[in-house]
Structures are given as structure tokens and as C-alpha cells.
Symmetry: C2
Subunit: 364 residues, 2 copies
């Protein structure tokens, strides 16, 4: 099927670019002896998770139990739920997943550890655990120093749990400019100290799991870290370009839209707004636009309603007619994927794959 | 089932409040002889659309053909697609809908009218049309004056189409403060002039369709307008409170979430972020928060990642423990509904209805 036969809006995945992205990160991880446990929240598709395994991923990362239930389809040897699992319903479902594959949970409180221990003990299962510490984002995670050591000791003492090590997420490093590199150096020092503290305390530290998109190809600079959990690298997006993780040409996902109105002077409306793209602006910098129009450099995608994308063409090289189609590289692909029932894999102008976004909308 | 048996995050609909909201707008419309053609994008649920019909709605409004395909389940006598239908796939699907019920399309270009005319003629159907004009939002719609008259003339001359009148959307009026009332007066004058122009031109103007949430209960002040298409009024949300359309107590939809971490000082993390709430900030004013925590007045829901909600409790009257649940009134309920597979109707603490959000994610 040719792209022109697709109805819009539709997410297109350039398979050549995607495969290049998958391979380059798999090669980087192998070169630096980093375990690669990709976050599947970006694609939400078991078939793509399977490709990550084939390229050497040791397992996957998910945020929610409902995502784990979907990703079991890809037959991973390990599933990391990088989110505290709180509440009896979720714990019961997690135990069912743990009967099928090894499950690891990252958590940041003794309360969460005790709930997990009770559920695992009742089921006669062993759940692997990473103790999470905060490295500056101020989201989840106890403080490095005695807090993380105490949390790890508590986990280690609980039945049904196996302490594998620690996890952290340096989401406060938004770009690798000079300030970003300094933050990366501080992060490395913090992690090294945690490694030393665990060693003194005689605690298991097989896995030191971290990484973020901006720091992706500098992960080897964080001393002691031996695992990364990147997600966005499979497709990349404008945020990744802005933070320096990739070039615009590496972006494998674009959203095909149709021009539906040209009544606005020097502008046009496209049939994708926040219900198609999500409303995230770029994480870094001054750029206030919602995407890059491949066919119209200079166009400014400056506003959205749910179904309407407002494009200003004053500085664009060309004009468009009602019915014309353009492809837009979104700011944040993970949240856009979550809005689409299915997406299309393309080679050039040919649609060669249709994937259902199976883990879309999995909130629980 | 008691609310405590639901897993989180979950959207709860307070049915008493919802029914009050539905009735008050139906009564208002009846009192002022306004046709009520509710936009179903807010709830996306055929069973709720059916209740709107039972209370006197003349039909529904949808934005996309795929939404029309879902809402046909509610057996409306009329479906208004308030969006230009561009492209052969969509037109073919629209004709299938039009075999089941009367279809009206709002459009703003001769090109869109010609495409629709060709599809209707081929199918031997008549599609009703509203010519859309812009009243200040600068989104879709030709200019009032000769542009809207010319567009209506073109529609009127095309086979397979029946010109019913005009449509507009005063989305530029964000709140009914002094400035808002002035804008409403200007709007009324514009609409009156269009009515006069159509009269002089001998063009049909059975329907003059407009309205927006902030202006909802002042619709009768727009002279000549005889139809409103409100959506959010079924649930309301923080945006509606901010723009003066309702009180906080009228908000029928809240999102039940669980506290998953209290590691952050004076704060807590809840298990709903932008994947649960969407990332829309308030349309008006300075308020930069993402929702109102019913159980914690003073709490500030100040940041989101996809799965994490950051709540600052420095100014809140109470603290929470991991596993506690709170209900959050979202900023924008339409976009939140689009993220949930199902929602729950409650009376007090009892869950009495479970609805699938059938028109969720209908982009095309």
C-alpha cells in the first residue's frame, strides 16, 4: 500500500531509520558493557520490543503493571516495572506476570517493599528489587547516603524479595551543554559514592541502573552505572534533537496530516491537534512550536486545539491547498503514540507494516 | 462495588452532578428556544449521548467521521460533523453514516463543499451543510460579509447538498469578564449582520449555530443565534470554573489516584501524570496547576511527567501516606476522557455504572 492510501492523521515509522537507531544504541551498550533494558513506553508495541531483544536487550522496562501484561507477549527474560507498585489489585496482577517471567520492581519506600514482599510471599514467588534514589529530579527516590543504604537493607531483609541493586533517573539533565556536562560529572560522583557505600554495607549491587535520553551516548562516563533504560531512541523526536541526542534526520516517526482549511491568511489548518500530537512543548530552549513540517521548512506549527493544528506559513517557502498532506515530526513521540490505535511502518513511500499500539492507554 | 475496590487511576463520574448539569442546560435551551446539539467529544460515550437526546437534544455534534461512526449507536436523528471532511476515505465513510441518519457538515471552503457534493451525488444522498464563518478565533471559517455569503451561494448551487444555515465558534472569548461581555456584544452584532446579509441574498438560514462554554448561559444574548453546541457542560472542569461557567461543586468528573511516594519533602507523588490527566494548563488566568485535589485543599499539583503527578503539600492542611487515595478535578476533562479506556459512574461512594469510552482515540 502507498502512503497516499492511508487516512489521516496517521503515525508513520520510517523502518530504515528505526533499525539504524536500534542498532546504534545496541552497539553502544555492547561496546561499553552496559546492560540495555529499553523502556517500552515509547513504542508500546510487542513486535518492536521483540526486535529490541533480538538486538541484545536483556529485558524491558515498563512503568505500569498493565504495560507489563502487554509486554509479556514479547517473551522477555525480565521485566522491570520502574514504578512503585502500590495496592492489592496491582500486586495481584504483578504476581500473575511474575509466574511467566522474572519481574523486577524499582521502588523508593519501605512501605512499598513490605507490600511487595507480602504479595510475593503469599504467592511463593521471588521478586527482584532495585532501590531507587534521587539524583536531582526530585520525583521519586530516597536521598543517596544513609537513606538509600537503609532502604536497601530493609529490602534485603524482607522475604520474597531479592535485592539486585539500585536505580535512578537523571531527568534533571535536560541537555548536554556545559551545565549538563557538569551535572553529569556530579551524577557520576554521586553514583560512585553509592557504590562505595553499598560495598561497605555488604549489600548486593549487581545492577546500577540509570540513564536518560540527553545523556544516552555519555552513559559510560557515569562510573559504576552498568545498565541503561532508554526509550525514545527507537524513534527519537524534536525533544531529542533539542537536547543533542540525535539529528533531525534520525527521527523515525512522523505524523501524516491533511490540510483542511486555508481560510486563515498566510496560514493553514491541519487535521491534527492536541488529540493527535499531545500538547507537550519542547523541554529545552525557546522554541514554542509543536512540530517540524518536513515538507515546509519555515512553517510554524504554533497552536493546537484538540482537532486543529494552526500552521503559520508567513516564513515558509511554499503554500498548500486543501487536501494536501504533510508529515510532521512531533515534539514528544511517546505521548503521541499513546493517542493512536495503530501506526504504520514504511519503507520510502510504501506502507509495509501495520502495528496495533497494544500498550496504549495502559494506566494502571 | 465501592470506590475503594477500583484500581487507580480511574475517572469517576458523579451521576447526581452530571444529571443536574445535563438538565440545567437542557432547561436553559428550552427556555430560550435554542436548539441543543451537544458536542459528544467531552464524554465520547453513546449511553451518555442517549441521555442528552432524552433530555431534548436535537442531535449531536462530533468533530471526526470516526466519532460519527461511534455515535450512530445512540440513534440520533441528526449528526453534525463540525469539521471539514477532506479526502476520499473519510467521505466514503461519511456516506455510510448518512445512510443511517441525517448528516450535517460544517465547512469553510468551496473545495470542501465540492468534494462533499461529489460524494453525496455519487451516493444519491443529500448532506446538510452549515457554512462556517470566523468570529475572531482565527481557526477555521471565512470572514463574515461577502465571503460567507459567497460560500453559502456556492453550497446552495451544488447538487447533493442542502444549505441549512451557518456555524461559528467564539473560542476567542475565554471568560465573561468585562472584556468578555464586550466581545459577546460584538459577536451579537456580527451575527445579526450575517442574518441580514443572508436575508438580502435570499439564502436559507434555518440554523444559526454557535456557542462556547464561557458564553453558554448567555447564548440568548447573541441575536439571531438559534442553536448551541456545548460539550463540557455534562461534566464541567477547572477550565469551566475559571471562565465562570460553573462552580467547583458542579464538576461531576474527578480522577481517583493513589499516593505512590512521599520521598519528596513536603510533597507526594500520585500515580497520574500527563498520560492520565493530559498536560493542558488552564486557558485563563495565572493558575499553573494541573488539578484540584478534593481531599487536600491547598495542595498544589504543580508538575507532571507521563506517569507521575508532583504534588506540593507545603500549604495543605494534611499529609498523606503511601497507598492513600485522592480525587482530582482536572483542568480539561475532554482530553482526559480521551486517555481512559473506561470510566465509572458513582452515586456517593458506590460505583453503579462502568462505561467504555467508545469514541476515545477516534482521530480520523
Amino acid at each position: 500500500m502507498h502512503i497516499s492510501e492511508l487516512d489521516t492523521p496517521a503515525i508513520l515509522i520510517d523502518l530504515d531509520k528505526m533499525e539504524h537507531n536500534l542498532r546504534s544504541v545496541a552497539d553502544y551498550a555492547r561496546e561499553h558493557n552496559l546492560r540495555l533494558r529499553p523502556h517500552t513506553k515509547t513504542h508500546k508495541i510487542p513486535a518492536l520490543a521483540r526486535r529490541q531483544i533480538e538486538l541484545g536487550a536483556v529485558g524491558f522496562t515498563v512503568a505500569k503493571v498493565s504495560e507489563a501484561e502487554v509486554m509479556i507477549e514479547a517473551a522477555p527474560e525480565d521485566l522491570l516495572v520502574a514504578y512503585p507498585v502500590i495496592g492489592e489489585q496491582k500486586l495481584a496482577r504483578l504476581m500473575r506476570v511474575a509466574r511467566k517471567t522474572r519481574v523486577t520492581v524499582a521502588l523508593d519506600s519501605q512501605v512499598a517493599a513490605e507490600m511487595l514482599s507480602a504479595a510475593a510471599s503469599r504467592s511463593g514467588l521471588t521478586i527482584h528489587v532495585l532501590a531507587e534514589f534521587d539524583v536531582g529530579l526530585g520525583r521519586v527516590g530516597v536521598q543517596p547516603g544513609h537513606e538509600i543504604v537503609e532502604l536497601a537493607r530493609a529490602i534485603d531483609a524482607l522475604p520474597g524479595l531479592r535485592l539486585d541493586g539500585v536505580a535512578f533517573y537523571p531527568g534533571h539533565i535536560k541537555a548536554l551543554d556545559e551545565e549538563g556536562f557538569q551535572a553529569l560529572d556530579r551524577l557520576s560522583a554521586t553514583v560512585e559514592q553509592v557504590v562505595e557505600d553499598f560495598d561497605h554495607a555488604g549489600l548486593c549491587l549487581e545492577i546500577v541502573s540509570g540513564g536518560s535520553t540527553p545523556t544516552l551516548f555519555h552513559s559510560h562516563r557515569v562510573k559504576g552505572m552498568n545498565e541503561i533504560r532508554p526509550g525514545t531512541y527507537i524513534f527519537y523526536d524534536r525533544n531529542c534533537v533539542a537536547c543533542g541526542a540525535c539529528q533531525l534526520e534520525d527521527c523515525a516517526a512522523s505524523i501524516l496530516v491533511t490540510v483542511v482549511s486555508t481560510a486563515r491568511q498566510n496560514g493553514m489548518m491541519i487535521d491534527g491537534g492536541s488529540k493527535t500530537f499531545f500538547s507537550d512543548r519542547l523541554v529545552t530552549g525557546e522554541d514554542a512550536y509543536f512540530g517540524h513540517l518536513i515538507e515546509a521548512p519555515g512553517a510554524r506549527f504554533f497552536r493546537m486545539n484538540e482537532e486543529h493544528g494552526y500552521v503559520d506559513l508567513a516564513a515558509a517557502a511554499r503554500r498548500f491547498a486543501i487536501g494536501d498532506r504533510v508529515r510532521v515530526i512531533p515534539n514528544h513521540i511517546c505521548v503521541a503514540m499513546n493517542l493512536h490505535e495503530q501506526v504504520y511502518g514504511v519503507r520510502g513511500e510504501e506502507v509495509v507494516e501495520t502495528w496495533r499500539v497494544a500498550a496504549r492507554g495502559k494506566l494502571q
